[in-house]
Point group: C2
Chain length 453, copies 2
């Protein structure tokens, strides 16, 4: 394996904001009740001012605060690696590179935005942030960030995960956060659900409702979101900015950039700095591939429409590719990819043909993850293995045509907390889940009336 | 946090062998039955020839094969980090550095020796290696190495761990190894134990017996050991060699080097390159501190005597500090530190006063691990937290005297598979275990009659 390492001095000083470079202006967010364009002040009770400004900023480059860069240095710049053993195993003329975000203390790319979000909250005097988490990647990243800035963190964790995945919960506790199984008795939203079903396993939508209600009920408290919105994507561009510089060191440039898509911030964070080169005309031929699970096929089978980010319909209406905010994805092991919508910027580029999308079944994804572990050593997250699957497809296509092709995929996290899933795969017990058309149509029929795009 | 990063070109090309530099010749190993000095050929059925040569080599520098360096590059050179947030939290004038081995695919320093051991086996036509594992760090490192060289790996895993710690077993399976709960029906040693006690939880000693018997019974099979012996320590010196170079980059040099001690290879791998500077007279004032658990106090309360490396008495008699091969350590969470003896080279230096030793209770160790996580982000292995505890003691002593002191400790692995232990600590359920003198004396009374040193 060959690694391309940047010095700490080469850690980016600015994030890249794609908003001013989009081929067409992003459709506005809408107020969830009035359907009027959302005003920045509508978010003031939920997010700190600096984050709201970033959400709507027309500036191409936004400075990364030194205090944030100082913490990024714990694990950044992250390595860009050439997977030459995998190339040999595939017998392909293609070159496969991966950008490895699993080296962060929380084990994924999530701290890239958790750190600045908590930093801005702390700077504005916020004493506590609330959030939701499913499998726990985002909750642990926010807990880690909170511990460094002395900001309390309250996590509403989907009850099914809370009970089945105790170790990410332990991780949050180790960093000093409080973690509640959702639905909980702490909020009206939680109590309402429990009154109907005392055994409710919870959902991301319910957990968001609880976290939002908790934040709105306390002046010193704000809410933090782990994906989809512009400011989250902005913070994640540190990944792609580093990768672009590392390709200069390698004397190479990707022909195709591949990332997995849950809410879209991991994909966009890696891809957008390269997308900038395509949009500027400097690298017009670069392709971009978004890899998603067949169990939650937002880009490949969803509608491009206004939809809520949460199941309860509390958040602003976002212009996105969605399978419907009421969609209940199957219990696949790539928990980070079970979100019903995607980042508006990414969806706008997908709509204009700049991004291809592919959906994969989880058995093919785990087969690649195991092959990767046996050739490249690292045991990776099932989410990241979707991007790997896309990379292998590209490498095999290049072999077919005998063509050199430089492939970059995002390895967004390690799989140390996913070994029960590897076990299931190795025991032949993993199921595939392609969504029946009727289920998809039922979920899409409940889209808000703000309209399709 | 400040990191000191080496380029891949700076990855060491040779390991450092301390044997020729010891202040007095190492007492010879003895044959387990005859008590005569062990001959290299006595190990031929167990270890590959190249490894046996390294075990007894008088050469100070031994080349690292290019194929091994190529795999080391997956995660090496590993970072040297300055824990400046922890320094601030302690309000100490001391500087605290740590060398971070948790970045390897198996999550610890163990692959540093697993890779060359499997490489030499493969080069000599060995098709399969067997080993024992307790909590699973060593077994997973060897499984990882086996997957890269197409050498089959058979792991005998202590049954209690096999059942209670399924995720390291999953890791070994992911890398393609076969893993058996020990005692098993596969060997005479295992069957003998099961005949007496069908519910036996197993022990490291029994697992070694099974792995050795399996290797001896098959011509194409050898045994691999994860610590204590000279060749293992040799391979681990890549850690200290990198660290010494990284201190040059930092313009600094440690006043004290601290490592945790199970079998001693992690400590020695970090310390011996610095010890060479002390032995040569170039850095005569450097101190070395070995941190061990009170539950298995080999250096602080053991005897310096000949003892077997395994409970069944199959291995050669090693001149070491030991609490007796029949000693049953309490079930502390730092499973990697529950070995009854230590590396002979390390023990010789300890005996001559070059190495200080301290024993810690596990609650104080976990308290440091949690403080570290909340200031430096990383959730570390309980084993490594013993070294951290030693480093914090040194930093607080420096604060007491107002003295600058440069501290280096070995962070040998991450704690992603130890979160149940963190849970117990945070819930106040962790117990301390200081060994009663009577238990220690009983174990020491069973030392072989080859004598004290």
């Amino acid at each position: 394996m060959k690694k391309f390492i940047l010095t700490e001095d080469e850690l980016p000083r600015q994030w890249y904001n794609i908003l001013p470079d989009l081929p067409a202006p992003l459709p506005p967010y809408l107020h969830p009740v009035t359907y009027e364009p959302l005003r920045p002040e509508d978010l003031a009770a939920l997010l700190p001012q600096a984050v709201i400004e970033q959400e709507f900023s027309p500036e191409r480059w936004i400075d990364i605060p030194e205090q944030v860069r100082d913490i990024y240095r714990m694990w950044r710049p992250s390595p860009l690696c050439r997977a030459d053993r995998l190339e040999k195993a595939l017998d392909t003329p293609a070159k496969i590179y991966f950008k490895f975000e699993g080296v962060s203390p929380a084990g994924s790319h999530k701290p890239n935005t958790a750190i600045p979000q908590v930093y801005y909250n702390a700077r504005e005097g916020v004493r506590r942030v609330t959030t939701e988490t499913g499998a726990g990647q985002w909750g642990s990243a926010l807990s880690f960030a909170g511990s460094l800035f002395d900001v309390a963190v309250t996590v509403y964790m989907v009850r099914a995960s809370y009970e089945q995945k105790p170790y990410r919960r332990s991780l949050m506790h180790t960093w000093g956060a409080e973690v509640f199984a959702s639905p909980s008795e702490r909020t009206q939203a939680g109590r309402d659900i429990l009154a109907k079903d005392a055994e409710s396993p919870g959902s991301l939508g319910i957990a968001i409702s609880e976290a939002v209600e908790d934040a709105l009920a306390h002046d010193d408290t704000r809410f933090a979101l782990g994906s989809a919105m512009n400011h989250v994507v902005l913070h994640q561009t540190v990944i792609g900015l580093e990768a672009r510089r590392q390709f200069e060191l390698a004397g190479d440039y990707p022909d195709v950039v591949i990332g997995c898509v849950g809410g879209g911030s991991n994909f966009s964070g890696l891809a957008f700095p390269f997308m900038a080169d395509r949009l500027s005309g400097e690298r017009p031929g670069t392709r971009f591939v978004a890899a998603e699970p067949t169990a939650c096929p937002t880009l490949t089978r969803g509608a491009y429409a206004y939809d809520y980010p949460d199941a309860a319909g509390l958040g602003p209406l976002l212009p996105m590719r969605t399978v419907g905010h009421g969609f209940m994805p199957a219990p696949i092991h790539a928990g980070g990819l079970r979100f019903h919508g995607d980042a508006p910027t990414m969806c706008a580029l997908h709509d204009k043909g700049y991004i291809e999308a592919r959906a994969y079944e989880q058995t093919e994804v785990f087969a690649e993850a195991v092959r990767f572990a046996r050739h490249e050593g690292f045991v990776i997250a099932p989410e990241s293995a979707h991007a790997l699957r896309g990379a292998v497809q590209e490498a095999l296509a290049a072999k077919e045509t005998g063509e050199e092709r430089t492939i970059l995929f995002g390895l967004s996290g390690h799989g140390h907390f996913d070994l029960a899933a590897y076990d299931s795969y190795l025991a032949g017990k993993l199921e595939d889940y392609t969504i029946p058309q009727s289920q998809l149509e039922a979920a899409l029929s409940e889209l808000p009336k703000a309209g399709r795009l």
